[in-house]
């Protein structure tokens, strides 16, 4: 099925995307003819049980992985026709990333980490924008510290700032609260929410966590590589209901108790 865009021009479009792993008996359809529009200026969550293909979908949209067939457009650029160099440039200029495990460069200070994408592109930071990002991140006097001197929540906020600073078309966040306690997680989610509300940033987040999903404008659900459902302006309870429906009662209950770390109630 195709999920319709909710508002305005989409920041990215996915058309008939299919990706398989393995072969024969062990063939796994990670993505099975997925089509989807990711609305500009929206905060979208991609949800689904383990192995549903949500991470693969995000990696394909973010020019980190390639599909077997179908296409992904970021703006009007078709990723399936681009080579490594162009993809690298696309990642550098159009896409921002937030990873579950922060992935900061340990030798650089927080500030240097934030400015790294601009430095790589040899672009000067826009002062006002930089100041407002820094202000939003709220690190204050800890900007000169190395990552190992910061808490997990602080590190992840640095990572969010790094993703925002180059004003990318889309920011992708892969389980950004997965390694955080609930308070730090909420701070990070609030940061993402504000970037959408105050600056019109497009954010796409992959998550297990119904609490995290409740911060978004729209949730799309994947199961077995297919789009199975979606919610607009979701609440935690609505998300849990859909999760229970798409992944069967056992898996749904597993979601309710919260898998992994840091998905406690907020």
């Amino acid at each position: 099925m195709t999920a319709a865009p909710t508002s305005g021009t989409p920041a990215a479009r996915v058309r008939n995307l299919t990706k398989t792993y393995g072969s024969g008996e062990a063939l796994i359809r990670a993505l099975d003819d997925v089509s989807l529009d990711l609305g500009a200026g929206q905060f979208t969550a991609v949800m689904g049980p383990s192995g549903s293909g949500k991470s693969t979908l995000m990696h394909c949209c973010a020019a980190l992985d390639t599909a077997d067939s179908g296409s992904v457009f970021v703006g009007d650029q078709d990723l399936s026709t681009m080579k490594d160099k162009a993809l690298t440039r696309l990642r550098r200029d159009e896409i921002g990333f937030v990873f579950q495990s922060y992935n900061l460069v340990p030798t650089l200070t927080a500030e240097e980490n934030i400015l790294l994408p601009l430095a790589i592109a040899r672009r000067r930071p826009d002062r006002d924008w930089y100041d407002s990002v820094i202000a939003t991140v709220g690190l204050g006097d800890r900007l000169g510290h190395k990552p190992n001197e910061l808490s997990g929540g602080q590190q992840q906020r640095v990572a969010v700032a790094r993703a925002l600073v180059s004003r990318p078309r889309i920011v992708f966040a892969d389980e950004p609260t997965g390694n955080l306690d609930s308070r730090s997680g909420a701070e990070v989610l609030e940061l993402l929410r504000r970037s959408v509300d105050e600056h019109g940033q497009t954010v796409v987040m992959v998550s297990h966590d119904p609490v995290a999903a409740a911060w978004t404008d729209r949730v799309v659900f994947l199961a077995d590589g297919r789009l199975v459902d979606e919610l607009a302006r979701p609440t935690r309870e609505q998300v849990l209901d859909v999760m229970a429906r798409v992944s069967g009662p056992e898996l749904g209950s597993e979601f309710r108790t919260g898998p992994g770390t840091g998905s406690g109630s907020a």
């Binding site: 440039r89 495990s101 790589i120």
Partner: protein, 845 residues
Amino acid sequence: MIRAALKSLLGRKVRLLLSTFAIVLGVAFVAGILMFSDTLNRSFTALFASTVGDVVVRPDGGQTDLGQLSTQTLPASLAGKLRALPGAARVDGNVTALNVYVMSTDDKIIGGVGPPAIGGNWSDAPAGHGIQGLVIEEGHEPHGPDEVVLDARTAERAGYALGDTVRIVTATDRVNIESTLVGIAGFAEGGSLNGATYAAFDTATAQDLFLGGADAYTNYWITARDGTSQTELAAQARAVLPAGVEAVTGDDAAEASASGLLKGIDFLTTFLLIFAGIALVVSAFIIVNTFSILVAQRSRELALLRALGASKRQVVRSVQLEAFVIGLLASTLGLGLGVLLANGVQALVATVGLDLSGQPLVLAPRTVVAAYAVGIVVTMVAAWLPARRTGRIQPIQAMRDDIALPESSLRRRLVLGVGLVVAGGAALGAGLFGSVPHAGWWVVFGVLAILLGVTSASPVVSRPFLGLAGSVYGRLFGPMGNLAGQNSLRNPRRTTATASALMIGLTLAFTVAILGASAKASVDKQVRDNFIGDFIVSSAFGQPFSPAIAKRMAKVDGVDSILRERYGFGRYDGTDQGVAATEPRDIDAFDLTMDAGRAADLADDTVLVEAGWARDHAVGVGDTVKFQMLTGERSWTVVGIFAKNPIVFFPVLTSVDTLTGSGFPDQDNYVVIYAKPGARGVQDRLDEVVAKSPVVTVKNQQEFAAEQRDPIDRIIAIIFVLLVFAVAIAILGIVNTLALSIIERTREIGLLRAIGVSRRQLRQMIRLESVVIAFLGAVQGVVLGIGFGIALMYAVRDQGLEVISIPVGQLVLFLVLSLVVGVLAAVLPARRAARLDVLKAISAE
């Protein structure tokens, strides 16, 4: 536990391979040199066995230890007496002469350096114990004055075939010979002349050429009848021999001539093993570093083992076991590579004339044992420090995210390093300037302690350098430069340990470069200060040449006068001593500075001695000195003591007739030519005299200086080739460190790629990291090398090396090369990093 260790080892094949490389090269070096040395030994033992008969009859002391032959001969009439001996099956007279050079078809001398150029009479007599020596393989034996036989290798090198006219240059009155090649000789039972050349004529021609036409022989071989031993036969011969002639068994004669040479080979082996030792020290550095990295990367796994109940001991043991397996594997590979290397060393010594082509390599059990012992011991000793550190890993660390292996404190390393440098400096000083016994060992330990001390203190003292490099990088190369600079500072222990491995090789290279430049500058200065006359005539290898050349040159238009100098060897007070000789009437030309006596008093059976020699041997004017020469003991009166003069090649100077009378041939080593003032074109006319015997050349002051510098260049070149090994291992070390640190940083590299770093930028970053390591090693090497070089030169300043010269151009070249090395070392790791799959890298553990 053992299973876990082995599994972990096998699970990391790439890392295993990388860490074995360094030790493989070190072991290969040791094994290769031992194989080469055994091969050389066997080949010379075989060669010498084939150069003696069952019994050799020769004039007393017919040969010096250094291979010079006496001019004394045995009459042909002696043959009859020997044939009548009851134990003699046959008796053959041999004529042997040295400095008989075969010229190639394009007018080059064959051989000449190192192994002798031999001429003589053709003989098919069997060597001792019935060993068949050279036999005619093609053509026939030489007959008559115009026929010659060459050994197969010489004929091949010179490019002659049967029927060709062979050009030969001798040191006798008849300088040039042209003969027809009628036969080619080879060893029937395999064997080699090891680079010596052999030209054989029929007996009458050989006597004519080399013994002034006398019907005489250099020596006789007696072949024993079946059932007669060498000792019995020698005793029978002694009974009938006149005074001044001796009979020795072939075994003794071969042993005597081989022992001097084998002593030389031992020296060569020791010399080469020193470089193998250097290579092994560098390998050990790499192993320490590699294991430190591997253990750090595995610390979580080791902590897990601890949490599961493994004891400290077991954890440490598992790392040591890993080292053992790596050592075992590396030794095996090294042994194999050593075979290739032995061939390489053969090629290297072939450039100095020692031709061992066609000799099968000898793989003695000793070599195998040494290879395994060295490989395993070095690896395990080097892995000991990192292994011990794993014992300090706490089980709780298995649960933690950011796990760091406990490291030695930098402060302690600085203190240790400074201590070692101070102690090493003291030992070096004592060895060089003090009067301690075994000064050489003091120097070696001093140098080693300083190198280790610098390595130990390097993480601290190199910090400013790395910081500076980082900021220069940032300015020159932007963000990637900045990252590279930060990365080199991330683990200064690792960066500096890798650089130190390179430092060792380069320190020695710089030291040698400085010694070489200083030696050459000293030679230049001595030649400049002491050159007499206008031209010097000599052979390139200091070998004697025909006196006819000097006679002809004296008659050349524009030549005012000539001065001959020659030398021989005898024994004084139990040690070999060179004796120089000149014509007493020419002594003024030497312009000697006399400390005592008068130079003009030099006459037959008198000597002038150099001041230092006179002091060492407590000899004064008027004393009598006794020398053991080829013809027996000679007593000479000291008539003067002169200040050291490089034109007089030995500290004892006598008359030409005295030297000839001591059994040395009438041949010159050097001739000094004085041109008439204003004469033009003299050198061209002198060149014409020796045009057909390129063994001898005419040189003006600059050319003579250049020729004197040449052997220094050659030795330096060989040392550089040997040091290439240490440097190659160090380069592998850089590759290894980079590769391992890339594995360690996989996730970070994935992140950089994810946020838009291109492959090119990534490669640039790795390359810059590599260059900073290489450059650090080179800079440390330059500083230490200059220090050691100057210290050594200062220590030997009173041994004729009075000029200290620092070859700035060469040092700068080395520094630039180190940058190239850095770039090259980064090629593979950088490619690997650039090829990492971004997705997998990001999610890597």
